[in-house]
Amino acid sequence: MNVKAKIIDEDGLKRTITRLAHEILERNKGSENIILIGMRTRGEFLANRIQKKIEEIDNSKPELGILDATLYRDDFRTRLKQPEVSVTDITFDINEKDIILIDDVLYTGRTARASLDAIMDLGRPSTIQFCVLVDRGHREMPIKADFVGKNIPTSIHEEIKVKMKEIDDEDAVYLVESPN
């Protein structure tokens, strides 16, 4: 990993998650009708932390689901490596709910597109709002995030690496040189 800059550190991540939780609550006037859905893999941990923060602020815990949108991707025939699928874990009713879809990095928007299709197959939510930790630009789809932790303009030769203690050894966001 050829690191160019550390963009968010552990304390920064904590503050960002606190702000995102407040913004979600403000926009939805509380946590009553919201459902958090984390996109595998790191979106899941992010959603987990936002859920805890919302519980702290609002004294009620919104339901949390995990979405794997692999089966809805558009690049099966063009990628060299076959993507690994895992299980979607959304066991509750999403009809008429306000869904907060959570991911770590927003880039081309193709994963978000796949996720929207995957959610629509599970029911008809009243709204879907998109929350990302980092928006790095270079969109290829008409997709925009509702809640953004940090906007980081990048070049296509760079990558954003989000590290979370749940599976990595630290909490941090790095800007790195793309390996290829």
Binding site: L71, F76, R77, Q82, V85, S86, D121, L122, G123
Partner: protein, 306 residues
């Protein structure tokens, strides 16, 4: 992660990693089958032909459903209403179907080796849905999946296959697959229903059903295949039932923790009593549900390979 195999012809030479990947991927599709909309767009634009030269209910419906759940386009070929009756050769039929630009072929045939032959005359990805007395890999995969779902592991598990082993492609695929996954496999049948030298696969032989039930964790009960001449190997169905049939009594007497599988179709009162076929020890209908998920996993893994 992707498979090392390009076709699923049998489980004989399929490495452990591949079986593991298929079983794990099936878990994903098992979840899809529980959704209100049981369909994903993954194989949109992929065309699959179901080439069935032999009768089938479960396997054909299961494959067709799996294909539709993955949004693939499907064509069904059955011999009864095809040009095979007009004298067209197998090779010509396949060449013609392939000229219609198809991607995968699911084949069932009464002759062993047909799926292997298909890989030589076609560029499509081939899946064996049963070839003669040879192999039926997706059945064995769904059996393994169902066992793993119920018991949690395959490694070191004692699994006994009971019945007409020498006429059974399900038995052979299960033996290959289970041994690869580390299970201890045995067979139980009258000597006339065992192929010669079956021990060379590393399986133990039982001739006493009580012992087989007592000493195993799982019993996979095979159908007595009357259409494949099984009548010549046993004096009567009733005698087979008396000596080798799985009944409530056999289970209660020997092993109440046993798990009973049956690939279907069931001959009630022959290899299994109705009491057991509908009772608490069996997972026969779970096997059918899991079959769709396993076939989705195989189609997905082979169909999205580059």
């Amino acid at each position: 992660m992707s498979l090392n195999i390009k076709h699923l012809l049998g489980l004989k030479d399929v490495p452990k990693n591949d079986i593991q990947l298929i079983l794990d991927t099936a878990t994903t599709f098992r979840e899809v089958l529980e959704r209100p909309i049981k369909k994903v767009p993954t194989l949109k634009g992929t065309t699959i032909v179901n080439l069935f030269y032999e009768n089938s209910t479960r396997t054909r419906l299961s494959f067709e459903l799996a294909e539709k759940r993955l949004s693939a386009d499907t064509l069904n070929f059955t011999t009864s209403n095809s040009s095979t009756k007009k004298g067209e050769t197998f090779k010509d039929t396949v060449r013609n179907i392939e000229a219609m630009k198809i991607d995968m072929i699911v084949v069932r045939h009464q002759s062993a080796g047909v799926p292997h032959y298909l890989t030589k005359i076609s560029n499509a990805s081939i899946i064996n849905a049963g070839d003669g007395r040879h192999e039926h890999p997706t059945q064995a995969l769904l059996d393994m999946y169902s066992i793993r779902e119920k018991i949690g592991k395959l490694n070191n598990l004692n699994v006994c296959i009971v019945g007409d082993i020498s006429h059974s492609r399900v038995a052979l695929s299960n033996i290959f697959g289970l041994i690869t996954m580390g299970a201890k496999v045995s067979v139980c049948a009258p000597p006339t229903m065992l192929p010669k030298n079956i021990e060379q696969f590393g399986v133990k032989i039982f001739h006493d059903i009580n012992k087989a039930v007592a000493e195993n964790d799982v019993v996979n009960v095979l159908r007595i295949q009357l259409e494949r001449d099984a009548g010549n190997t046993i004096p009567s169905l009733r005698e087979y039932h008396n000596y080798f049939g799985i009944t409530g009594d056999v289970i209660e007497r020997n092993n109440k923790d046993i798990l009973i599988l049956h690939p279907g179709p069931i001959n009630r009162g022959v290899e299994i009593s109705s009491e057991v076929a509908d009772g608490p020890y069996q997972i026969i209908l779970d096997q059918v549900t899991n079959g769709v998920a396993i076939r989705m996993a195989v189609l997905y893994l082979l169909g999205t390979m580059n």
